[in-house]
């Protein structure tokens, strides 16, 4: 039943739809984004969230590996990239250097490496396969979630091979999963203005669909809060939903807030906290075929991420430990968080913390000896 306080809400009919578990239309999506009834929106998204996950909220022990920030492309929202080795603040790690950085995590119970970098102008494709193979060898229990669709599309260009061949080679080297980055906003209008050099939306989908066909699960993101319109956000979500109906390969949806420091879109300022909750909630409601919605705390801040657990999110991502992309864009969050703190944050929000692996399976904990 719709709570009394929401019976006069301007989106009451959409609350009814959520209650009935009906699929939302494009027009519904636009109205959900535009409503100022943030409480009613949260109520509906929470309903959808609790139907799937009850009171559980997931987290995992992971570590980011940003192997290089040198990038052929120059996206206006990015504070991370450097155009060449010579540029100030540029880095590039050899496979051995990566191994050195993550050596302390051996047998630490880590579940995932999140591996993304710039679209590097001159590393050979063998670097990427060597990197995966070395990590798999040294850290056999840690899932390798690596390379956004943009990097993978570039590998195809670099090697002259098909996406399928590239993905098979990566799979062979140890790839387990593909992160959702590089989606930005699918609309051509937006990509032309802010990231015209990188792979377009069709290519992003081609990478993900090919991955799904090979049995590789992926995530999907939306970078909101810059020049996109509400309609463009909704179309983005609907395009993901349409693919998911066919492939069921998406594990989670991750709305990402634009961070306005040290890049050329600085003057736009940061999107509001209300907008953060709205993106989580509408994502949960529209993507009725995607299991998980992530409140990526590194980017939302732990406070908004905690609130997002009541606005449709069921996952806080992980301990992370080292993060550069958002911190170079002015993120004020710590670069890592202990497992204990993540559990506290989840409990305080009235949820039950469950450790997961990269594929969202609950981790079976060995009983602690008394």
């Amino acid at each position: 039943m719709i709570p009394v306080v929401f019976r006069t809400s301007g989106i009451r009919d959409l609350l009814e739809k959520a209650l009935a578990g009906e699929r939302f239309s494009r027009e519904d999506g636009v109205r959900l984004f535009l409503t100022d009834d943030l409480a009613a929106l949260g109520w509906a998204a929470n309903l959808a969230r609790e139907r799937r996950h009850g009171d559980v909220a997931y987290y995992l022990k992971n570590r980011h590996i940003n192997y290089s920030n040198i990038c052929k492309y120059d996206c206006m929202f990015c504070s991370f990239f450097r155009s060449s080795h010579e540029a100030e603040g540029a880095w590039e790690w050899s496979v051995d250097e990566v191994l050195e950085h993550v050596a302390p995590y051996k047998d630490s119970g880590l579940r995932e490496f999140h591996i993304v970098g710039g679209v590097h102008p001159d590393l050979p494709f063998s670097y990427y396969t060597d990197l995966l193979a070395a990590l798999r060898r040294e850290h056999p229990g840690v899932a390798l979630k690596a390379f956004t669709a943009i990097e993978i599309a570039y590998f195809a260009e670099l090697t002259g091979r098909s996406l399928r061949e590239v993905l098979e080679a990566l799979l062979e080297a140890g790839l387990d999963m593909i992160p959702g980055g590089g989606a930005e906003v699918f609309a051509d209008r937006v990509r032309y203005k802010v990231c015209r050099e990188k792979a377009d939306a069709d290519r992003w989908f081609e990478v993900h669909e090919t991955a799904h066909a090979l049995g590789i699960p992926t995530n999907a993101t939306l970078l909101y809060g810059h020049i996109e319109t509400v309609e463009e956000r909704v179309d983005h979500l609907l395009r993901l939903r349409e693919m998911q109906d066919r492939t069921l390969g998406l594990k989670s949806y991750v709305p990402l807030a634009f961070h306005p420091e040290n890049n050329r879109l600085e003057k736009l300022g940061a999107p509001t906290g209300a907008d953060a909750l709205r993106n989580v909630a509408v994502g949960r409601l529209l993507l009725d075929n995607v299991d998980h919605v992530k409140a990526y705390w590194i980017m939302l801040g732990i406070q908004v991420a905690q609130l997002a657990l009541a606005w449709g999110a069921d996952d806080l991502d992980g301990t992370v430990t080292w993060e550069r992309i958002y911190h170079m864009a002015g993120a004020k969050t710590p670069e890592g968080m202990t497992e204990e703190r993540l559990q506290q944050v989840i409990r305080e929000a009235g949820r039950i913390p469950v450790e997961r692996d990269a594929f969202y399976n609950a981790v079976e904990r060995e009983a602690v000896p008394a």
């Binding site: 409480a39 939302l300 406070q303 908004v304």
Partner: protein
């Protein structure tokens, strides 16, 4: 749950909530329903789509303190190398900076200095009045006033009257923490009792002065004690009507003697803000705490009962000493308010509109 439904109904009908109903809402209320009910209450009190704020500077005239509150990371013991007391020249410079940016008020608070006499405070206020008559001094929380009264062996009412005569305009609500003595014993055994805090505000209101009320929560208190705090404020407000606003914030444990307490983030903050809006039916304004919650959560709170973005602060020394540093200037506050669908309006301490 019948009790919960009944509490929702009463809140929706704008009826006064009992203590039990307050606790029921805090404990079992749905976060979204609480936010919606609180927002309805806010719209009833402030039907215009306006969110107010004040251009004010925070000034901490001393960090010297003999009260040693366990939740505080700001104070220094007398004789400590980092102990300071601001001179008139330093105060003046800070106020010049406020005036340059259109400021109209200082929030003037400090530690409980062991030996500054009442005349020292009077001189500071006279200095401010003589040189900056247009700036309202919103100063001296109840524990500071009680501390001065103790040093001078004077009734608090007389101390407040002398401070007022020297130029004090209004009194901030700091030092309330949780107005339950069991909790105060844990947090700050040497500080004002809850009755002492209430007395200072009662005296100030009796003298015709206005003040604000605060709550610092998320440490040793129970939910029932949070509601007891609200109850005590509501009772005094029924008696005097002197509170202009209520401000709540979460305890920041870093660098304090209570750092083992886990820091509350925003879920409890938002719920407690909403229930406060509903419970304090006789206090007109509820301020956002962007200082502890950050601008993003402050924006969210504008849909959960909050109608005021607080002040520009300029500098903040107490919460930042405990590891939390957020900043918002007037431009950023106005941008936040607009993006959240409200019209920003500059106000004074009495919540009257002032020219931007």
């Amino acid at each position: 749950m019948k009790a919960l439904e009944r509490a929702y109904e009463k809140a929706a009908a704008h009826e006064r909530l009992s203590r039990e109903e307050g606790v029921t809402l805090l404990e079992h209320g749905d976060t979204h329903i609480l936010a919606a009910l609180a927002h309805q209450r806010r719209l009833r009190l402030h039907p215009e789509p306006v969110v107010t704020y004040i251009v004010e500077r925070n000034i901490n005239y001393t960090n010297s303190c003999v009260t040693y509150c366990r939740f505080c990371a700001f104070y220094r013991r007398p004789g400590h190398a980092e102990e300071y007391v601001l001179s008139h020249a330093q105060l003046g410079q800070k106020i010049e900076e406020v005036l340059e940016q259109g400021g109209i008020q200082v929030l003037l608070q400090g530690g409980h200095h062991p030996d500054l006499p009442l005349t020292w405070y009077e001189e500071m206020l006279r200095f401010l009045r003589t040189n900056y008559a247009m700036v309202n001094v919103h100063g001296f929380s109840a524990p500071e006033i009680e501390h001065i009264a103790g040093l001078e062996n004077m009734p608090v009412g007389d101390v407040i009257a002398r401070l007022r005569d020297a130029g004090l305009g209004t009194i901030p609500g700091g030092g309330a923490e949780i107005l339950v003595d069991r909790v105060r014993e844990i947090l700050a055994p040497l500080k004002t009792t809850s009755e002492g805090w209430i007395d200072v505000h009662r005296e100030a209101h009796r003298l015709g002065m206005r003040s604000t009320a605060t709550m610092m929560f998320g440490h040793a208190e129970t939910l029932a004690e949070r509601v007891e705090h609200l109850e005590r404020l509501r009772r005094l407000q029924d008696e005097t009507g002197g509170f202009t606003a209520f401000i709540l914030w979460t305890f920041q444990p870093q660098n304090t003697a209570m750092r083992r307490y886990p820091k509350l983030e925003s879920h409890q903050y938002l719920r407690t803000a909403s229930v406060s809006r509903l419970y304090l039916d006789n206090v007109a304004n509820l301020q956002a705490s962007w200082v502890t919650q950050g601008p993003r959560v402050a924006e969210i709170s504008l849909r959960a009962g909050v109608n005021d973005m607080g002040s520009t602060m300029f500098e903040e020394n107490v919460v930042s000493a405990a590891g939390t540093t957020y900043r918002m200037n007037a431009e950023q506050i106005e941008r936040s308010i607009r993006l959240c669908g409200f019209e920003p309006r500059r106000r004074n301490v009495y919540y009257e509109e002032v020219a931007a």
